[in-house]
Amino acid sequence: MNHQYDIIIVGAGPAGSMAAAAAAAAGRNVCLIERKPQAGTPARCGEGIGYRGLTLTLEPRPEWIKSTVVRARMISPAGVKVDIGNVDKSWILDRERMDSDLVKDAVKSGADFFPSTPIVSAEKLSNGLYRCTAANADKKSAAREFTAPILILADGVESRLARCFGWDTALRLNDIETCAFARVRSDGIEPDCCTFYTGSAAAPGGYLWIFPRGAGVANVGLGVIGSKCTPGLPQKLLMDFINRNFPKSKVTDLHCGGVPVGRWVRPLVKGGVMLIGDAARQVNAINGAGIAYSLYAGRLAGAAAAKSFRGDGGVDYRVLLEYQKEWAGNFGKQQDRSFALKEFILSASDSFLNKIAETLSKEDPEKINYRRVFMRTFASRPSLFLKAFKLFR
């Protein structure tokens, strides 16, 4: 059966659902297609987000927030603890709940939602429309087809569909963190503190996180840079860490995922096809944060897509470029900066990290914020300091 729409959105994560809600609210006929039976399950995510990042696009709802974080602790490879007493307010989210609510919002705005519908191919037809074809999920019905003049791809880190339109989205091994994470229940977990472990033993080319989901329960996970990964290494490092640091704890929801940590894809728009979220590699290259970027990009893309429909029923694809322009001037710029400094952070040796931690551990925790950690890191190398200064000025 063929479904015809104004706008097809593939992938019902935060980016796709925001795009669907924005386009449907503007009066367009929109479908939101999801591979899995339920969007956001399992949540492949550390679930942390900063106050500014979230509130730029959305009013956070109390039921999404598992904990409010006001301090952080960084632990160096040698075990030196640095308490950061003055962090910007941030939240640990219930991504399953948030993702599912964002789909509901899109449906309320008028979008049609198709769960359990894996799109396996996409193409441009001779009549100018884009067609997406779903795998024959239940073997009884015919393959489902969707056509529309605009196609928004929010199909996540794997984003195979962008390749159907000539994008080379394959990630270099230094542009992916390969992650494993689980939910850990243990009395020692503090509800208002994020803990990070660095170094080649904890997480080669990445970091290990403990993000509290309330008192006594946390999202514990780690990322290994692709170039240093061996089969199953993230899972092995994670389980070793949990067994060592949280013996006899209850471990559930063990999952894995890839996080793009490169540049955002250029261009973000080709003809009537737009890329958003992880599919567009819209993730902060230093900390792997992508929720705020996805929400923002999704809403921009959905609004631009809706606006591109002219009164006569035609579509002006040039309007879609407004999305890329807005993105590039805001979070796009921030991502470019983090990417420019990533190579250095990747190359930082354990002894270098230990030295910085020792310096910082002697300072008053209440006076330490992320900016100070950043400055200490870069001040130790004059050439880098200059580079960082130029980028962030």
Binding site: A135, G226, C256
Partner: protein
């Protein structure tokens, strides 16, 4: 013979392998599949898998 073996019991369907495949030889439909006509057995996906669900040439994951 090309051969990436998938252990579906270990695979969490996260798609990390797809994101690094230069040949577009992996597809996540109902579950993960290798397209044998595209796969060159380079093994990048095997190394990247967080759960060790993939193996090359006759080895089992």
């Amino acid at each position: 013979m090309t051969g990436i073996a998938i252990n579906h019991k270990k695979c969490d369907e996260c798609g990390a392998c797809i994101s690094v495949c230069r040949k577009d030889a992996l597809v996540l439909g109902e579950k993960l599949e290798v397209l044998a006509d595209r796969c060159v057995s380079c093994g990048v996906c095997v190394n990247i898998c967080p759960f060790a669900a993939l193996a090359t040439n006759g080895e089992t994951a």
